[in-house]
């Protein structure tokens, strides 16, 4: 036990990888050299990275098809928007609140459907995402403002002396959240929970037979995924200062799905690359206007033909029992 703890400590503060140091410093230096427009693109790249990571828990780790993830994203964004504009709750306080709201919603909605397999679950979650969007349009209890949405959301701030109000500050906010999520999720991957998830994905019956509580682990994945999407919703809402139902369409769910598939199911660096592809590609090809989606579609098809496992598929070597206990058990991930 002691050994393992030491091992974890080392991994967190590991500067032995020059590539990682290089990438992190590139991310830190990037906004100081480019225009606000390019910073904003990188911001939305961050939002999609976070959304991709959140869906990756459900789709990548456990292999549950979820095409309604935009619903959780919307719940997070609207929780932030409504509580902030009506009751003046600060945005940063609402960050965990949005996560909890989205997670709670996922728990309530997914509990009865969690036993569904494959395509069936996909259809139900697809319906769920659409129902959330339609509910927002119908303005329940005069809360969501109908098709116009909620507007006038504050900037995130700590008192009055530190207000996140510029592109560059938002950039750091989102990427710090993404970095923390990556650290957390990497450690989750290597934990008991992560292994149980992968076990369920590979063979649910075997997992059940070995004593893995399949239902609870699947629900946990949904709750964590939804919570992370709720966090993304919170930051998105405060960045745009308004939320409206057309930000949470079925298309957004599709994009998140693509991010995970392009990157490689269950692979965290893959998700980041997938998010880069999804968020940067449309901007690069915007001059092509009408042909943009055509190019986008063909790129996806080519991608799936030549790299069906994703750009950066997850490699998982066999892990021996002793290596889990030894100090350099780093072959996995």
């Amino acid at each position: 036990m002691e050994l393992r703890q030491q091992n974890n400590q080392r991994r967190l503060l590991d500067f032995g990888h020059p590539q990682i140091v290089l990438i992190v410093s590139a991310f830190i230096l990037y906004p100081f050299f480019v225009s606000d427009y390019l910073i904003d693109i990188a911001f939305f790249f961050g939002i999609y990275a976070l959304l991709g990571l959140s869906l990756n828990i459900v789709l990548g780790e456990v292999g549950l098809f979820d095409l309604g993830h935009a619903g959780f994203y919307a719940i997070g964004a609207y929780t932030t928007a409504i509580l902030n504009t009506r009751y003046g709750v600060p945005i940063l306080v609402l960050l965990p609140v949005s996560a909890i709201a989205a997670g709670l919603f996922a728990y309530l909605v997914c509990s009865p459907i969690i036993h569904l397999q494959g395509d069936y679950l996909l259809i139900v979650t697809l319906g769920m995402g659409e129902i959330v969007r339609l509910a927002l349009i119908n303005n329940p209890f005069d809360l969501t403002g109908g098709p116009n949405g909620v507007f006038g959301i504050d900037f995130p701030s700590l008192g009055t002396w530190f207000v996140i109000d510029s592109s560059i500050k938002y950039y750091f906010l989102i990427w710090i959240v993404v970095a923390l999520s990556i650290v957390g999720l990497t450690r989750l991957q290597q934990s008991r929970i992560g292994r149980a998830w992968n076990y369920i994905r590979e063979d649910e019956i075997a997992a059940k037979a070995s004593g893995v509580d399949v239902r609870s682990f699947k629900l946990l994945a949904f709750i964590l995924g939804a919570g992370l999407a709720g966090v993304a919703g919170n930051i998105y809402a405060s960045k745009l200062m308004c939320v409206s139902p057309e930000s949470f369409t079925f298309w957004e769910s599709c994009l998140m799905f693509c991010i995970v598939l392009i990157g490689g199911m269950g692979s965290i660096p893959g998700v980041i690359i997938g998010a880069a592809f999804i968020s940067l590609f449309p901007e690069i090809f915007r001059p092509f206007a009408m042909y943009r989606m055509l190019v986008f579609g063909s790129a996806m098809i080519l991608m799936m033909m030549f790299r069906p496992g994703g750009v950066w598929p997850r490699k998982r070597g066999a892990v021996s029992f002793t290596s889990l206990l030894s100090t350099n058990g780093r072959e996995h991930g």
Binding site: Q19, I20, L22, I23, A26, V34, S35, D36, Y37, L38, D40, I41, F44, N139, G146, P147, N148, G149, F151, G152, S167, Y236, K239, L240, M241, C242, V243, S244, E246, S247, I273, A276, L280, P282, E283, I284, R286, A289, M290, R292, M293
Partner: protein
């Protein structure tokens, strides 16, 4: 070192993104257009782009502005999404030579975009953004050439009592968000006239959409003896209401909101009943009587074969025209000067959609609505 390679590739891609040349050709005035060139509203965006091209071309043909400078249009696509709208606005404000922007179609896209224009102090004029709240934010640089959601009610209040010499007004709605909203706006707009002009709202009630027999509410309506009767719901109920009203002896003019009368209405009610029914509606491009409109639409038809089929693109052309006008008259491209000029000095400048002026909040002054009527043949034409 695979990661390093990836990083290099990403950096390479980003450098492609960097704006290649931010400065326009010397001797041009650059005006931005942010619109949904792709996406669900691409049709609207494309027409707005074409309209702005024509408007710029017409100005350039007449020798440009500021003694010979040409207008250059720079289009950015917001795909009709709030997120992309924010990016598009950020892209335009980053280009120092863009004087002002025509932006955009869709209130929820305009909201985040106009926040950015405001923060970076750039005049932006909306052309298809009707949410009332947009001009209630006390922004300095936001204007719109189109009307607001409550313009129709205002138009009714300004125009109808005079035209029909009516003092007793009945308003009927159908409890839908749209119908009730329009009825409330109309009532609110009429209220100041209650004391000054002796106008009375003698009937204000809702019917239940989907029903077939409206004789009970109509009997109440008859008892209130209205001079005109405004129905703010949809055509299916409107047709039944008019037929049944005529059969129980209500003869006052029927005026429908912009969802009440269409070809379907004429079909259901029959020409005998439908003729002489009125409707408040946004003017379609072909119905505009102004010289500027004729000239603009002629050029548009020459180039693209037909005139815009939606009312909104011509507001984009007018937004471009008024920016050009402001730059020409002030001789300045400074946002502060332009915003002040647009707010304080622009008044009754002839435009394609009629005289242009702005209120202190940045709303269009005057209400771009028309009264349409069903004629003898069942066509819906402008009531002159």
């Amino acid at each position: 070192m695979k990661l390093v390679k990836c990083f290099v590739v990403v950096c390479g891609l980003l450098s492609i993104l960097a704006p290649s040349s931010v400065l326009g050709e010397s001797g041009t005035v650059v005006i931005g257009l942010q619109g949904p060139i792709t996406g669900a509203w691409a049709y609207e965006g494309q027409m707005a782009k074409q309209s702005c091209e024509i408007a710029a071309e017409l100005i350039n043909k007449k020798g440009g502005i500021l003694g010979g400078k040409m207008i250059e249009l720079r289009v950015v696509d917001d795909a009709g999404e709030p997120k992309t709208g924010a990016l598009a606005a950020q892209k335009l404000v980053g280009q120092k030579d863009v004087v002002a922007a025509v932006s955009t179609y869709g209130s929820s896209v305009c909201e985040p975009a106009s926040n950015i224009y405001e923060r970076f102090k750039k005049v932006n004029i909306g052309y298809g953004v009707t949410a009332v709240r947009l001009t209630q934010r006390n922004f300095t640089y936001f204007f719109r050439t189109c009307g607001r959601d409550d313009s129709q009610g205002q138009f009714f209040a300004d125009f109808i009592p005079k035209k029909f010499n009516a003092t007793r007004i009945a308003i009927m709605h159908d409890n839908t968000a749209f119908g009730k909203g329009l009825a409330e706006d109309t009532k609110r707009a009429l209220e100041p006239m209650v004391a000054s002009r002796g106008i009375q709202i003698v009937y204000y009630d809702a019917i239940t959409p989907g029903e077939r027999d409206f004789r009970v509410p109509l009997t109440n309506l008859r008892e209130s003896k209205p001079d005109v009767w405004y129905f703010t719901g949809y055509y299916a109920e409107a047709a039944l209401l008019v037929s049944q009203a005529r059969s129980i002896g209500i003869t006052c003019p029927f005026i429908g909101g912009n969802a009440a009368i269409n070809d379907e209405f004429v079909k259901i009610a029959g020409i005998d009943i439908a003729k002489g029914c009125y409707m408040t509606n946004e003017p379609l491009p072909g119905d505009l009587p102004y010289q500027e409109a004729r000239e603009f639409l002629a050029s548009y038809r020459d180039r693209f074969g037909e005139i815009p089929s939606s009312p909104w693109p011509i507001y984009a052309a007018d937004a471009l025209n008024i920016i050009a006008h402001a730059v020409d008259k002030t001789g300045s491209t400074d946002s502060g000067v332009l915003a002040k000029y647009l707010r304080d000095e622009v008044n009754g400048v002839p435009g394609i959609t009629g005289p242009i002026g702005f209120t202190d909040q940045g709303d269009r002054e005057g209400v771009p609505f028309y009264l349409y009527v069903v004629d003898e043949k069942g066509n819906i034409v402008v009531s002159r």
